[in-house]
Symmetry: C2
Subunit: 231 residues, 2 copies
DNA sequence: GACTTTGGTGACGAATTGTTACTAATTCGC
DNA sequence: GCGAATTAGTAACAATTCGTCACCAAAGTC
């Protein structure tokens, strides 16, 4: 094997059935929800992730945007790659390779078509096995990236209260956070700026509205963390 | 558009030229090095990443392993997905979509064939544009994941000194770390265990050898960090 | 045996983080 | 009107983590 010439296959020789599977995520009624589309006649499961094959020359995020727009009626504002999957699990279109992409939709966007419905992330109907894996990986990627990528801000309207922001972080991380710590860390991060609007939700003191406005900040070079995820 | 029926394309209708581009990484002479393979006759650049089209039914990491084994003569021990790329940049095999995979090779593995050579990551020859992007993304993914994934341990022999481990972390992060802090954090992480062997490198006191042996540890639930990367 | 080099650790002050407790501004019930 | 309830926002203290310095240990070199 070592001395076999490097006659790598010409790409024209093999072509692959490729799918972009889109995990459209949004906070709906206090849970993180996924948009599923109703499957057609012969399908084994009644629901699946929206997906399609990318068109020639189309970028992957563009394909994801197109797919999401079709089922949602609106174009999501942010996309994050989940990873590629080529295992033996069944895909609704028998794609050899799936590329999973998370599409984030702010909580105030009220899209949805007749053939698509929101389901809580932790209470999904039966899905084609490959899609089940894609969703699971999406959830885990999203959880791991909350503090490296502005995911939480993309799940909120353009202005929001700090309590709302905190509750989205809690949704994504799956645990409660302390108010004072959360705000102190946010303050230090220079990621939001206050607007001069306030919103009263009914009960309680009105909250100031903030917007996502990341600013340059001096390099925070912390030491190594050894935060290996072992589950 | 909203009311267009969800006639998603049948996968058989469109097939894609897919490439798995492999970034084989290993510490070589105090830098992080990439294994490049010599390009054939008509290619514009003399070097490229090793790559191939996955075979039917073959997993992506399996394809990466096969490609890496071909150019290295040995099979890498660890793979990490970099992401999928479908931009307009030129690929040596004109693939529509590239899936980048990092393959990690310990520093004591002396593979390499006549048609492949190690290059320092920060001093690479001209590469096909798509491959240039894949390498850049690999570097950035690796840097971002050092403390979530046992990358550093896969770049070392099965037993190693803590100084070696630290120097790999420094290579990956691109900056110096403090010895005492590094060891304290490592201690707290329960990721390594000492062997009863010691190694003298010539000068200086011999160092104890450790092996990677992650153990369960009580949940360290830190608060949110807001470590957004903005560059 | 003194000097150099690399390994390894204790300890202290600084910085960060978890927590408690308080003040502020609003609605609700009476 | 007015106290209770509810949500927002913050100061301040305690606990923990982190960066750094200082030192000791064990080898080779001269």
């Amino acid at each position: 094997m070592r001395d076999r010439p490097l006659a790598l296959t010409k790409p024209a020789a093999r072509r692959t059935a490729l799918a972009v599977d889109v995990v459209v995520l949004s906070p709906r009624s206090d849970t993180l929800a996924v948009l599923l589309s109703r499957a057609g006649g012969a399908a084994r499961e009644r629901w699946s992730l929206p997906w399609d094959t990318p068109r020639p020359g189309e970028g992957l995020e563009d394909a994801a945007a197109r797919v999401a727009t079709t089922v949602l009626g609106v174009t999501p504002v942010f996309f994050e790659q989940i990873g590629a999957l080529a295992d033996a699990r069944r895909h609704p279109g028998d794609a050899d390779v799936s590329i999973g992409i998370a599409a984030l939709v702010p909580s105030d966007v009220h899209g949805g078509t007749r053939d698509a419905e929101w389901f809580p992330l932790d209470d999904l109907p039966a899905l084609p096995p490959r899609h089940r894996t894609v969703v699971d990986r999406a959830a885990s990627v999203v959880r791991q990236r909350v503090d490296q990528s502005p995911l939480a801000f993309r799940l909120l309207p353009s202005t929001f209260t700090l309590s709302h922001l905190q509750s989205v972080y809690e949704l994504l991380l799956g645990r409660r956070l302390h108010k004072a710590s959360f705000r102190r860390a946010l303050q230090a991060s220079y990621l939001v700026e206050p607007t001069d609007e306030w919103r009263g939700e009914g009960r309680g003191r009105p909250a100031q509205l903030f917007r996502y406005a990341p600013r340059k900040r001096r390099g925070v070079r912390r030491g190594v963390r050894f935060d290996l995820f072992m589950d």
